[in-house]
């Protein structure tokens, strides 16, 4: 079963063609293909182990596919990885940072690695930290930051070099309500600026609100690629959460929860 509808007729910024990747013979993704145009916010959904992380690692160049290719502006990224790396910003799922650096030092490191001019880097880093309410903590080591603060540092680092493509993997994790709203507004503005955003999340409510399109992946294959509203309409379901549950055939959560309680109580009754 696959649900697709045609995306707007624009020049594709990113295109994934039949990606296949296995680990020790076990396929993680089998046939992942989709396109992204400038100005699109694409939600990338799937249950745990569906192949989202593998796909993102391939897009970011950290992993090579066994088969298939990734095209950026029509060029295979494997042929010029350096040019591709310069064009995307990435916020990973886990906020792994060099925790002994301060927020400012981390942004300086990333900016210098990306070859930004010192003066420009200083201006951008300090302003982004201020806008993300990290100004008071910019000289404190990241090890002392909360999860939300680390996430904000990552978001700032991904925006430093004005990338064309942004990949956000669970970007709202740990953020407070105000920053979450700020982030949603930011996404809309980025899209309006012509940036393509790949948005990976388990929070379907947010995906439904901010994404133009959603791609649902399960067991390493793309099951659906359509606008959230179209998808719900097509499947005659009230919202994206119901669509998602139907598509990936998730387990009966109520029954599993009941079994968990029973296991917990073994030997304690």
């Amino acid at each position: 079963m696959q649900f697709t509808n045609s995306s707007p007729k624009t020049v594709d910024l990113l295109e994934l063609e039949h990606l296949y990747r296995s680990f020790r013979g076990i396929p993680a993704i089998e046939d992942v293909s989709f396109k992204m145009a400038p100005g699109e916010i694409v939600g990338f959904l799937g249950p745990n182990g569906a192949g989202k992380s593998t796909t993102v690692k391939i897009i970011t160049g950290m992993l090579r596919p066994n088969d298939g290719r990734v095209l950026f502006e029509g060029q295979d990224i494997a042929k010029d990885m350096v040019a591709f790396r310069a064009a995307f910003g990435y916020v990973p799922e886990e906020a792994h940072l060099y925790s002994y650096l301060s927020g400012l030092e981390y942004l300086q490191l990333v900016g210098r690695l990306r070859g930004l001019e010192e003066e420009l880097l200083e201006t951008k880093a300090t302003r982004l930290l201020k806008l993300l309410n990290l100004e008071s903590w910019q000289y404190s080591p990241i090890s002392s930051y909360s999860k939300g603060m680390r996430q904000r540092v990552l978001i700032a680092a991904a925006l430093l070099h004005d990338p064309k493509l942004l990949i956000f993997d669970e970007p709202l994790s740990g953020l407070d309500v105000v920053t979450m709203r700020l982030f949603r507004d930011l996404l809309e503005l980025l899209a309006a600026q012509g940036k393509a955003v790949l948005y990976i999340s388990h929070v379907l409510e947010v995906v439904e609100q901010v994404c133009n399109r959603v791609i649902v992946i399960a067991k390493g294959r793309v099951l659906a690629d359509a606008r959230p509203a179209d998808l719900a309409k097509l499947m005659s379901l009230p919202n994206l959460e119901s669509v998602f549950a139907q598509l990936v055939q998730q387990q009966d959560t109520r029954t599993v929860a009941q079994e968990m309680v029973e296991v917990m109580q073994i030997g304690h009754r």
């Binding site: 792994h96 008071s136 080591p141």
Partner: protein, 564 residues
Amino acid sequence: MHKLINKLAARLPLDFRILYHQFLLRVVDLESLSIQADIVGYLGQFSGVLIMLSLLHAMVTYIGYLTFSAPADRLAFCWHMEHYLISTTMLVVGLITVISWDAAFPDRRDVMVLSPLPIAPRTILFAKITAAAAVLGLAIVTLNAASGIVLPLLLGTQPGPALDFIQSFAAYWFTILAASAFLYGSILTIQGFTALVLPRRIFLRLSAILQLAAFGLFLGVYFAQPLLTDPVSLADPRNRWILASSPSYWFFALFNQLNGSWPAQFSWLASRAWIALGLTVTGAASSLLLCYIHTMKKTVEEPDLVPGAGGLHCMPPFGNSLQTAVALFSIRSLTRSRQHRVAFAFYLAFVFALALSLLRGELATPAPAPVSMDLLISAFLMMFFAVAGLRNVFALPISLTANWVLRTTQLRPSEDYIAATRRTLLLLAVAPIWLLSFALSFRFKPIPQVAIHLAVLALLGGILAELCLIGFYKVPFTCSYLPGKANIQLVFWGFVIVMIAFVVPAAQFELTALAVPLKAAFMLSALGALFWALWIFNRHRAKSAVLYFEEIPDPLITTLGLSV
């Protein structure tokens, strides 16, 4: 025996055993190791080096003993070896204590992870102390395994009613354990009371400084303290303050007192050992107990986030943006990571102590001294240890999970990263040692010879840096590390042989070349050519290099590659 130990261990509470195992492995920081790391094998290799040292000590003791025939000479030699073995054991215990700094005290991670669990603080305390004692015990026993039998045996053959093997053996091992307990207890006492008195944040900062100070102190004392083991030196009133302030002499006296061979007029030295032992054991026990009562609470109450102070945040550029990024990243990693700081301090402290002991005579004279073998050897050793030490520390990772940022921002070819690493190595190892040598050179003459020596040293630094970069296609501190991959014993003994075989003849050659301008010019040209050739070689190889972030273990099956 193994079954008996297992049977006894099984009687201990389960939570204690689990914690003990965890704390024992924390001697090596697990977070910086590759998942394939063989920690047990790594510790086994260290033990192997210590056993080899013990065998060497035993051999030197035995051969040295046989070279003397008069009983008085033999006894004097034994006294010299006694002091040497006691002070070496104290040095090793001191170094292990510095490396596992704070390990006996509960840190924030322990408090946050273990506090919610039904585990009593005393279980954590005992598990930590037992783990530390196990590591120290292993080091003490392996370091004295052979010498701890040979020396008591030789002392047992000495004439006199009280000098038999059993007594000497018991005295030796009691003294070694007491000296180790004193040193370890002293550090625990200082740390414990500092932690109790100071606010935690200030304590953590001071602790890092204390750690480096202790490192320098242990090595400095070991190399710089004079040898005063003969009765004449011991009786000399000018040496009284050295003896009174040197713990290794207190325990030397204690050993001989227990052995029954110590002159009564020096018994005050042995008394100092008893008093010091009593004070430190009491101090360590009380400070540890108080810390476990107060510090755990203090750690939880500590605010999670405090705004960072202004301070020095501007750093000079170190070349282009990539070179600046790599250099600053390396400096910050080195200065802010305890493990890396200590590892590099180990090399530096060792080399400075060695240089200090070699140049003590020259530096003490008011007038400039002529360029000597001691100056050349110390300069070579300083440069070698600093460059090789930093290269080794570069290979220790700091936060592997954060490396994704380096992978996703690699916008330049690998050779640029390798060039940035080279610059960092020159900046942090070669330049400081050269500047130190430059400062020292004002104490030597004639000036032309000193200038040529400094040029030789600069070239040597460059050559060593290039040698260290062969195959090193990594950003410092970012590649996983496989302890046990390198054969420590092989490296250690290989180093000793190379040092003896290379440094002394090289210094001799340089000394003669400095006096003959033509020879000096040839020496400089040869070194310059070697440096240039290595630089070209590394640059050429770097063009096709690929940066790597994960050390790959050797395959379990090695193919012969015979098939087409």
